[in-house]
């Protein structure tokens, strides 16, 4: 998995992203500021003890925290990786309580964020195909929105505007999302006071890779013995 993680980082850097190192845990105040508790009730996992800190439910949160209240000189493209935890027991028993997520985050003008995401959807779909995965790009919605009326609005808006797409690949015969491609519009930038020089009302977007799922999809396709995978596939993932 480490080699695939390295390869994904190399691909992100080749695409213009700068690696971002970050404190892994998030404060309750930050999660409150991005409406995490109201949008996704019960999903965040607190650290043990009365620390007031939470495990990151998504790695892009860490980057958004780090650029809060900042004025960026220009558009930002960064990649960040790390461990995520979510309390997903109500959604599917197959979901891992802890998993590794690499993300690429783009902050800039609305049109360029949308164009960037479209390009990544194409390139990462092609990468999955090169790996022999029978992957498909599908429009998606977050599963975890709470039942409050405003969350119905967020869910409907996500679908109406095509804000979320997922790359799904078969694992154990079932389609599973291995990556997601998300537009946030001005959700994070407006709530966190993120400005970009020369851009009115900047938008953001992110592309996420679920590392364990990519590995499982590859093992389902080519077998658990990585030494027996086709040479081209091994080269592509750095195995």
């Amino acid at each position: 998995m480490t080699s695939l993680e390295d390869r994904l980082e190399q691909r992100a850097i080749a695409g213009g992203a700068r690696p971002h190192e970050s404190e892994p845990y998030l404060s309750e105040a930050f999660l409150e500021s991005v409406e995490h508790f109201s949008s996704f009730p019960g999903l965040a996992v607190p650290l043990d003890g009365a620390t007031g800190a939470f495990h990151a439910p998504a790695t892009c949160y860490r980057l958004f925290r780090d650029v809060s209240s900042r004025r960026l000189d220009g558009r930002l493209v960064s990649t960040v990786t790390g461990s995520c935890r979510r309390n997903e027991k109500d959604f599917a028993s197959s979901r891992l309580p802890e998993f590794t997520m690499r993300e690429i985050v783009f902050i800039g003008g609305g049109d360029e964020v949308a164009e960037w995401r479209a390009a990544l959807m194409q390139s990462e779909g092609a990468f999955a195909a090169e790996l022999g995965l029978d992957a498909e790009l599908v429009q998606a919605q977050d599963l975890f929105f709470g039942a409050a009326a405003v969350n119905r609005g967020k869910r409907l808006m996500q679908h109406l505007l095509g804000l979320k797409y997922e790359l799904v690949a078969p694992i154990a015969g079932k389609p599973v999302a291995i990556s997601s491609f998300n537009l946030h519009r001005d959700f994070f930038t407006s709530r966190l006071g993120i400005e970009v020089a020369g851009v009115d009302s900047p938008h953001s977007g992110c592309v996420a890779y679920g590392l364990e799922r990519w590995v499982e999809a590859l093992r389902y396709r080519w077998g658990t013995d990585e030494d027996s995978w086709p040479g081209e596939v091994r080269n592509l993932v750095g195995a």
Binding site: V150, R152, G153, K154, L156, M157, H159, L160, R185
Partner: protein, 82 residues
């Protein structure tokens, strides 16, 4: 109330209660999403207005761009003169 009257009331509701004087007023053929007229909260308020007017709940799967992009599409899709 016929469909045209419903459309007018919907437009008036959006202009008077949701826009707060921000931006140009909405017309029957204004796309409510490309110009970011609606956000998730105001979308719910439009939905509540329509559901209250027709006296029925609209399933989420029926809320698609072809039916919800403009006031006239909403009226054509969800209001019945009968």
């Amino acid at each position: 109330m016929n469909r045209d009257e419903f459309t007018e009331r919907l437009i008036a509701y959006i202009n008077d209660h949701l826009l707060d004087g921000d931006g140009p007023p909405v017309a029957a053929n204004t796309n409510l999403f490309t110009g970011e007229v609606l956000d998730s909260l105001s979308l719910i308020r439009v939905l509540a207005f329509v559901e209250n007017a027709i006296g029925a709940t609209i399933p989420d799967e029926e809320i698609v761009m072809d039916r919800f992009a403009t006031p006239e599409k909403i009226a054509a899709s969800f209001w019945s003169d009968e």
